[in-house]
């Protein structure tokens, strides 16, 4: 252990936090916006449409994000039409490629999380909303979605943590976020222990912060106070987010 090297890493690596957070926040936002309509289709849509959404989430969740990233970054250039199109300026750039891959990934995970939330909204609540004369869109926006979001929040916390960790893959397409900076620093100093441990500590701080933030939000939004249920929620927060999905019967 070389403390002065660790100190140097502590000075250098935080400059990668910005890019890590940018990638994480943007892809989570894009993923969330994309997943809300998809989750509604997946939960309440016609069987054929629901199955199509399932196919998307299944393929994305069943393959490593690294493969998806490389498919976009290296693979798309093989298609002549893509290279000729206006999108090439964007798709040639590693940042946009990584963002695109992460967003697609996050959307797939969030769709399944929200779908499970939507499906566990009690029937009676929806019937009550219909009885009150609310229109379908109003029911979805004012009744179903808020309840489903509250139910999905613990699982969504996992997704946020997963995305912070997943953003480290951006270092494989030359982006200099925390892991990228660490790898660069290691190749110039060849002191992997010191530098990777500092990088790990930074990630740990970020993920801990994300977990605390979701727990805070959960507590703020919770409507019932069942200590037992809270215990279960905390247990679920610990798991990676790849619950099994099955086609709608």
């Amino acid at each position: 252990m070389n403390l002065s090297l660790m100190f140097e890493a502590m000075m250098v690596l935080p400059s990668g936090i910005g890019l890590t957070l940018t990638l994480t926040v943007l892809s989570l936002t894009a993923g969330f916006l994309l997943s809300v309509p998809l989750a509604f289709v997946r939960a309440f849509g016609r069987p054929s449409l629901s199955l199509a959404v399932l196919a998307y989430t299944y393929v994305i969740r069943g393959t490593p994000m690294l493969v998806q990233l490389f498919l976009l970054y290296y693979g798309l250039g093989q298609i002549e039409a893509v290279r000729a199109s206006a999108f090439w300026v964007v798709l040639r750039d590693p940042f946009w490629c990584a963002l695109f891959a992460f967003s697609l990934n996050s959307a797939a995970h969030t769709t399944e999380i929200l779908c499970r939330g939507l499906q566990s909204v009690p029937k009676g609540v929806v019937e009550a909303a219909v009885a009150l004369g609310l229109k379908r869109l109003q029911i979805a926006r004012l009744v179903i979605f808020p309840i489903a979001f509250r139910i999905s929040l613990p699982a969504y916390g996992n997704e946020v943590v997963g995305m912070i960790k997943g953003s480290s893959l951006a270092s494989t397409v030359t982006l200099l976020e925390i892991t990228g900076m660490a790898r660069q620093l290691v190749s110039s100093t060849f002191a992997p222990y010191e530098i990777f441990i500092v990088a790990g500590a930074i990630y740990l701080a970020l993920t801990t912060l994300a977990v605390k933030a979701t727990q805070f939000l959960e507590r703020r939004l919770s409507t019932d106070d069942h200590p037992k249920r809270r215990g279960k929620v905390r247990f679920r927060l610990a798991l990676p987010n790849h619950e099994i999905t099955t086609p709608v019967p």
Binding site: V59, G62, T63, P64, M65, L66, V67, Q68, F70, L71, Y74, G75, L76, G77, Q78, I79, V161, I164, K165, G166, S167, S168, L169, S171, T172, T179, A182, R183, V186, F190, P192, Y193, F196, I197, A199, G200, Y203, L204, T207, T208, F235, A238, L239, P240, H242, E243, I244
Partner: protein
């Protein structure tokens, strides 16, 4: 795809064996850690919690890089000359660490979900600690843990792709090399995706089968 079919087949085996070895080791370590964390008079409770928190809060890629590059330095220091840690070994160690971190939490949750009355009844029957684990808590706990445990295996097989970054010739690596040499990245990465998808599908189906065969007791 030229001569890459045979390479893909070999790489598939590498990925599968990497997954199986680190998953099995991780399960054993996870079980032991969960048991030590769950026993009331545990001295390692804080240490185990620290371990799982750190492992689950740090990117898998970083753990792999740390163990591969750090391991090389460590082994060189021990041996007194330059020794390179083989990518497969580094991958197994790194993925075992990751898997055991998650598995500990899964098993701990499942142990907590087994009613306390079961342990008390076993104690009053005169079973000793090992008998209680093996015949009373273990069988019930494993069934409760099964769905979440299966998810860990799916994540594990996806995480094996990261070991290609340190040079293991797994599916991802062969796709990378093939894409470079034949200048057909799309084809090769699509083939890799198909292989990974089939792997996760097989895992998913086996979990489903196991879940049906061993449903949680008493619910």
């Amino acid at each position: 795809m030229g001569g890459f079919t045979a390479q893909f087949a070999a790489a598939f085996m590498v990925t599968v064996s990497l997954g199986l070895v680190s998953g099995s080791l991780g399960t054993v370590i996870g079980l032991l850690l969960a048991m030590s964390k769950s026993s009331p008079a545990s001295r390692f409770k804080a240490a185990v919690t620290g371990y799982t928190t750190v492992v689950r809060g740090v990117p898998e890629l970083l753990i792999i890089l740390l163990i591969y590059f750090g391991g090389t330095i460590f082994a060189s220091k021990v041996a007194g000359r330059y020794v390179e840690v083989n990518a497969f070994t580094a991958g197994v160690i790194a993925l075992t660490v990751v898997f055991s971190g998650y598995a500990t939490e899964v098993f701990r949750g499942a142990i907590a979900a087994v009613p306390a009355g079961q342990t008390e009844a076993a104690k009053s029957l005169g079973l000793n600690a090992w008998q209680r684990w093996a015949f009373v808590i273990g069988p019930q706990m494993l069934r409760l843990a099964l769905p979440a445990y299966g998810n860990l295996w799916i994540s594990l097989f996806k995480d094996t792709a990261l070991v290609s970054i340190v040079g293991l010739t797994d599916i991802m690596r062969v796709a990378f090399v093939g894409a470079g040499s034949l200048r057909a990245p799309l084809t090769f990465y699509l083939a890799a995706s198909a292989l990974y998808l089939s792997l996760t599908t097989i895992t998913l189906l086996s979990i489903r089968l196991a879940e049906r065969r061993y449903p949680a007791l008493g619910r």
